[in-house]
Amino acid sequence: MIDFRLTETDKALLERTRAEAVIARRYAHEFDENEAEMIPDTLPETEEFYANRSPAPTAGPEDTQGAVMMMLQTMGAFWGDYSVRVRRSDRGGLGNAALAAAGTDEQKEEWGNLMLSMAITEPGCGSDPSRVSTSAVLDEETDEWVINGEKIFVTTGIRATGVVIWATIDKSAGRAGIKSFLIEKGTPGFDVPHKEKKLGIRADDTAAYVFTDCRIPRTHLLGLDESIQQKNSGGFRGVMKTFNMTRPMTAAMGLGIAEAAIDLTREELVNAGIVLDYGVGPGGLGRTNAAAEKFMRLESIFEASRLTLLQCGWMAGEGLPNNLESSVCKAHAGSAVREITQGCIEILGTMGIARENLLEKWMRDSRITDIYEGTGEIQRLIIARGLLDYTRADLK
């Protein structure tokens, strides 16, 4: 049954998320301004917070929807600050999602305790991963893969203890030749030259990786499938499946930031005595304040995007295929957070651009939402193929 009400358990869980987010927000400005430093794993208050907080409410499957709550909790955490992503490194990186989706049982056992980053993008390839040029060549004599190439924009790449990389085992096979490999930090030939300098999410340790004759055991091929299928490679699809959960998650991160902007702007409007009248009907604009009208519109966009995200999460939780929906929610959130954070600054004026307030940081931080995990344009390609019943070859 369609229902939008949170259970008491859900509310209690979200209150805990909020309490933690409030602590994180105290450090948001500092971490943003000191980009070169790695942020600490724990904040001074967090240990005390964890020691004193009430036990987590136990939720049975009958009174909560885990995947939906995961989206709401992610939003709640990022409402505090984007840097929670780094401090939550014990919960795994994007590579762990790939491991969970495509790894064998043995691989999950062996690699599950590492924090795995995901390295796909290269200096010469972004949205089109079939152009990956990092190579993996099998050395039959030693039963090792030899990896050569360069990866950039690796999220939490400094902190990660291991990585899932995309590399081609046969460049001539195109997409079908691309496989994922598990590589541990410290493996000879695996260098981490630097942390990237960015517009936003500066606390995130985005890294560049270089692989030079880096040798790894043959068993480090994620999923262990060495075959190259000429059409619609199963291996590539397996990895792409990762995105059906990570795309909504990135949408949730961006929307958490957008919600922070919405909340701050609402507070300032209310403090200024501006009334937000939701009872007003069509034709009622004459009775509405311009700032209020603009804000209420941004709030609607936010809510539409939030619900689209929750529906996508709900589908994942129910085990329903959500390939199209995950692109819809990611594309919507990507546009929404741009419009919302930029619009909130417009409403508040110079207060919005002062670095001591966080609104300008939220605009910079959330801008990545429409770029990583598939740009808005890539999502629209996927959506259009779905609508038109087109293959990748039909619509590029």
């Binding site: 369609i2 009400r5 859900d10 009872g279 007003v280 034709g283 604009l285 009775r287 087109y390």
Partner: protein
């Protein structure tokens, strides 16, 4: 617990209404628009589906099925996917009946609900919108002055669906500092019904104007009895209903454009293979999908008796903006054909703008 799952019954209703819209609504939508009239046959056929009477309790002559606003929103999206005018005509009796059902006193339920349980089409009408610039149903200029136990109503109303054949009108008016809704019989002295009105869109749906010149009604005419009714809730219900109609229209435009772009060839390939078109279709899909989420949320909150004013505002304003944008792009995608009345897109374009500015015209 948050859920987006339709019940089996809701899936059945959706499928049945989708079929009805395809078979009985879409084929006559254009002729109704051109003739500015919906044939009586259609109203009777729609009546026979029991859209109104099934939700009226058995004690008043109905089938006594529980009214679900979510189910009704789903139903309305499907009917409006066929055509907005015909969908709103089919549900016109529910607009009045559901207001009585939701907020009427026991006496009012006894008096009026049986009117909608008969064999053939019968309707009341709801008069919410007012003529003139910058008029908002939340702040009506129509006033109700107390006179002893009675009220004297004065004002003007517009976009009153089926005012020509309604037995009663539910008229919103300012009653001192509060809003009230008053049940006015069509033969009340001082009530002048004129029409049909001529508007840009929703042409099939007959609407009338009311001139209310010192119409006296008794205390029992106040919806909800002496305490009055929650008019905001009635508006929230109708705004959510209108957003469901706009959603159905949005989906209709998108689903019309998809095959068109696959057939239409320019520069040696279907235009659907050009990103400028394909991306626009994606954005149209994103817009209608996210509208549905807001519609469901508002309907669900209303169904559970929660405060839905903000949710209904969001659903309505978002649906209005997105449906207009989608219809506008539908015209653009069809190019010259979008401008020709042979295709339904120009009608949807007119209907979208119309739906975005009306209020109190459909219930869920």
């Amino acid at each position: 617990m948050i859920s987006f799952g339709l019940s089996e019954e809701q899936e059945m209703v959706r499928d049945a209404m989708r079929e009805f819209a395809a078979d009985a609504i879409r084929p006559i939508a254009r002729e109704c628009d051109e003739a500015s009239e919906i044939p009586n046959d259609f109203l009777e056929t729609a009546w026979s589906l029991g859209l109104t009477s099934t939700q009226i309790p058995e004690e008043y002559g109905g089938a006594g099925e529980e009214r679900s606003m979510v189910t009704n929103a789903i139903l309305l999206e499907e009917l409006a996917h066929g055509d907005a005018s015909l969908a709103m005509a089919a549900l016109a009796p529910s607009l009045f009946a559901n207001a009585i059902l939701d907020q009427g006193s026991d006496d009012q339920k006894k008096a009026y609900l049986p009117l909608f349980c008969g064999e053939s089409f019968a309707t009341g009408a709801v008069a919410v919108s007012e003529p003139g610039a910058l008029r908002d149903a939340s702040a009506p200029q129509t006033i109700a002055e107390p006179k002893g136990e009675s009220f004297i109503l004065s004002g003007r109303k517009t976009m009153v669906a089926y005012g020509d054949r309604a037995s009663h009108f539910l008229v919103t008016a300012r009653n001192g500092d509060s809003l009230g809704a008053f049940i006015v019989p069509r033969d009340a002295a001082g009530l002048k019904i004129s029409g049909p009105e001529k508007n840009m869109g929703l042409r099939g749906l007959t609407t009338t104007a009311l001139e209310i010149e010192r119409v006296e009604v008794g205390a029992d005419a106040l919806l909800g009895g002496p305490e009055g009714a929650d008019i905001q809730r009635l508006l929230n219900v109708s705004r959510t209903g209108l957003s469901a109609v706009m959603l159905g229209l949005s989906r209709a435009v998108l689903e019309y454009c998809v095959p068109y772009t696959k057939d239409r060839v320019a520069f040696d390939e279907p235009i659907s293979k050009k990103q400028s078109i394909a991306f626009r279709l994606s954005d149209m899909h994103i817009a209608q999908h996210s509208t549905r989420m807001l519609v469901w949320q508002a309907a669900s909150l209303l169904e559970h008796g929660e405060d839905a004013t903000k949710a209904a505002w969001q659903a309505r304003s978002y649906a209005a903006e997105k449906s207009m944008w989608i219809a506008d792009n539908g015209v653009q995608i069809l190019g010259g054909h979008g401008f020709i009345r042979e295709h339904p897109v120009e009608m949807w374009f007119r209907n979208a703008r119309t739906l975005g500015v009306v209020d109190g015209m459909v219930a869920i």
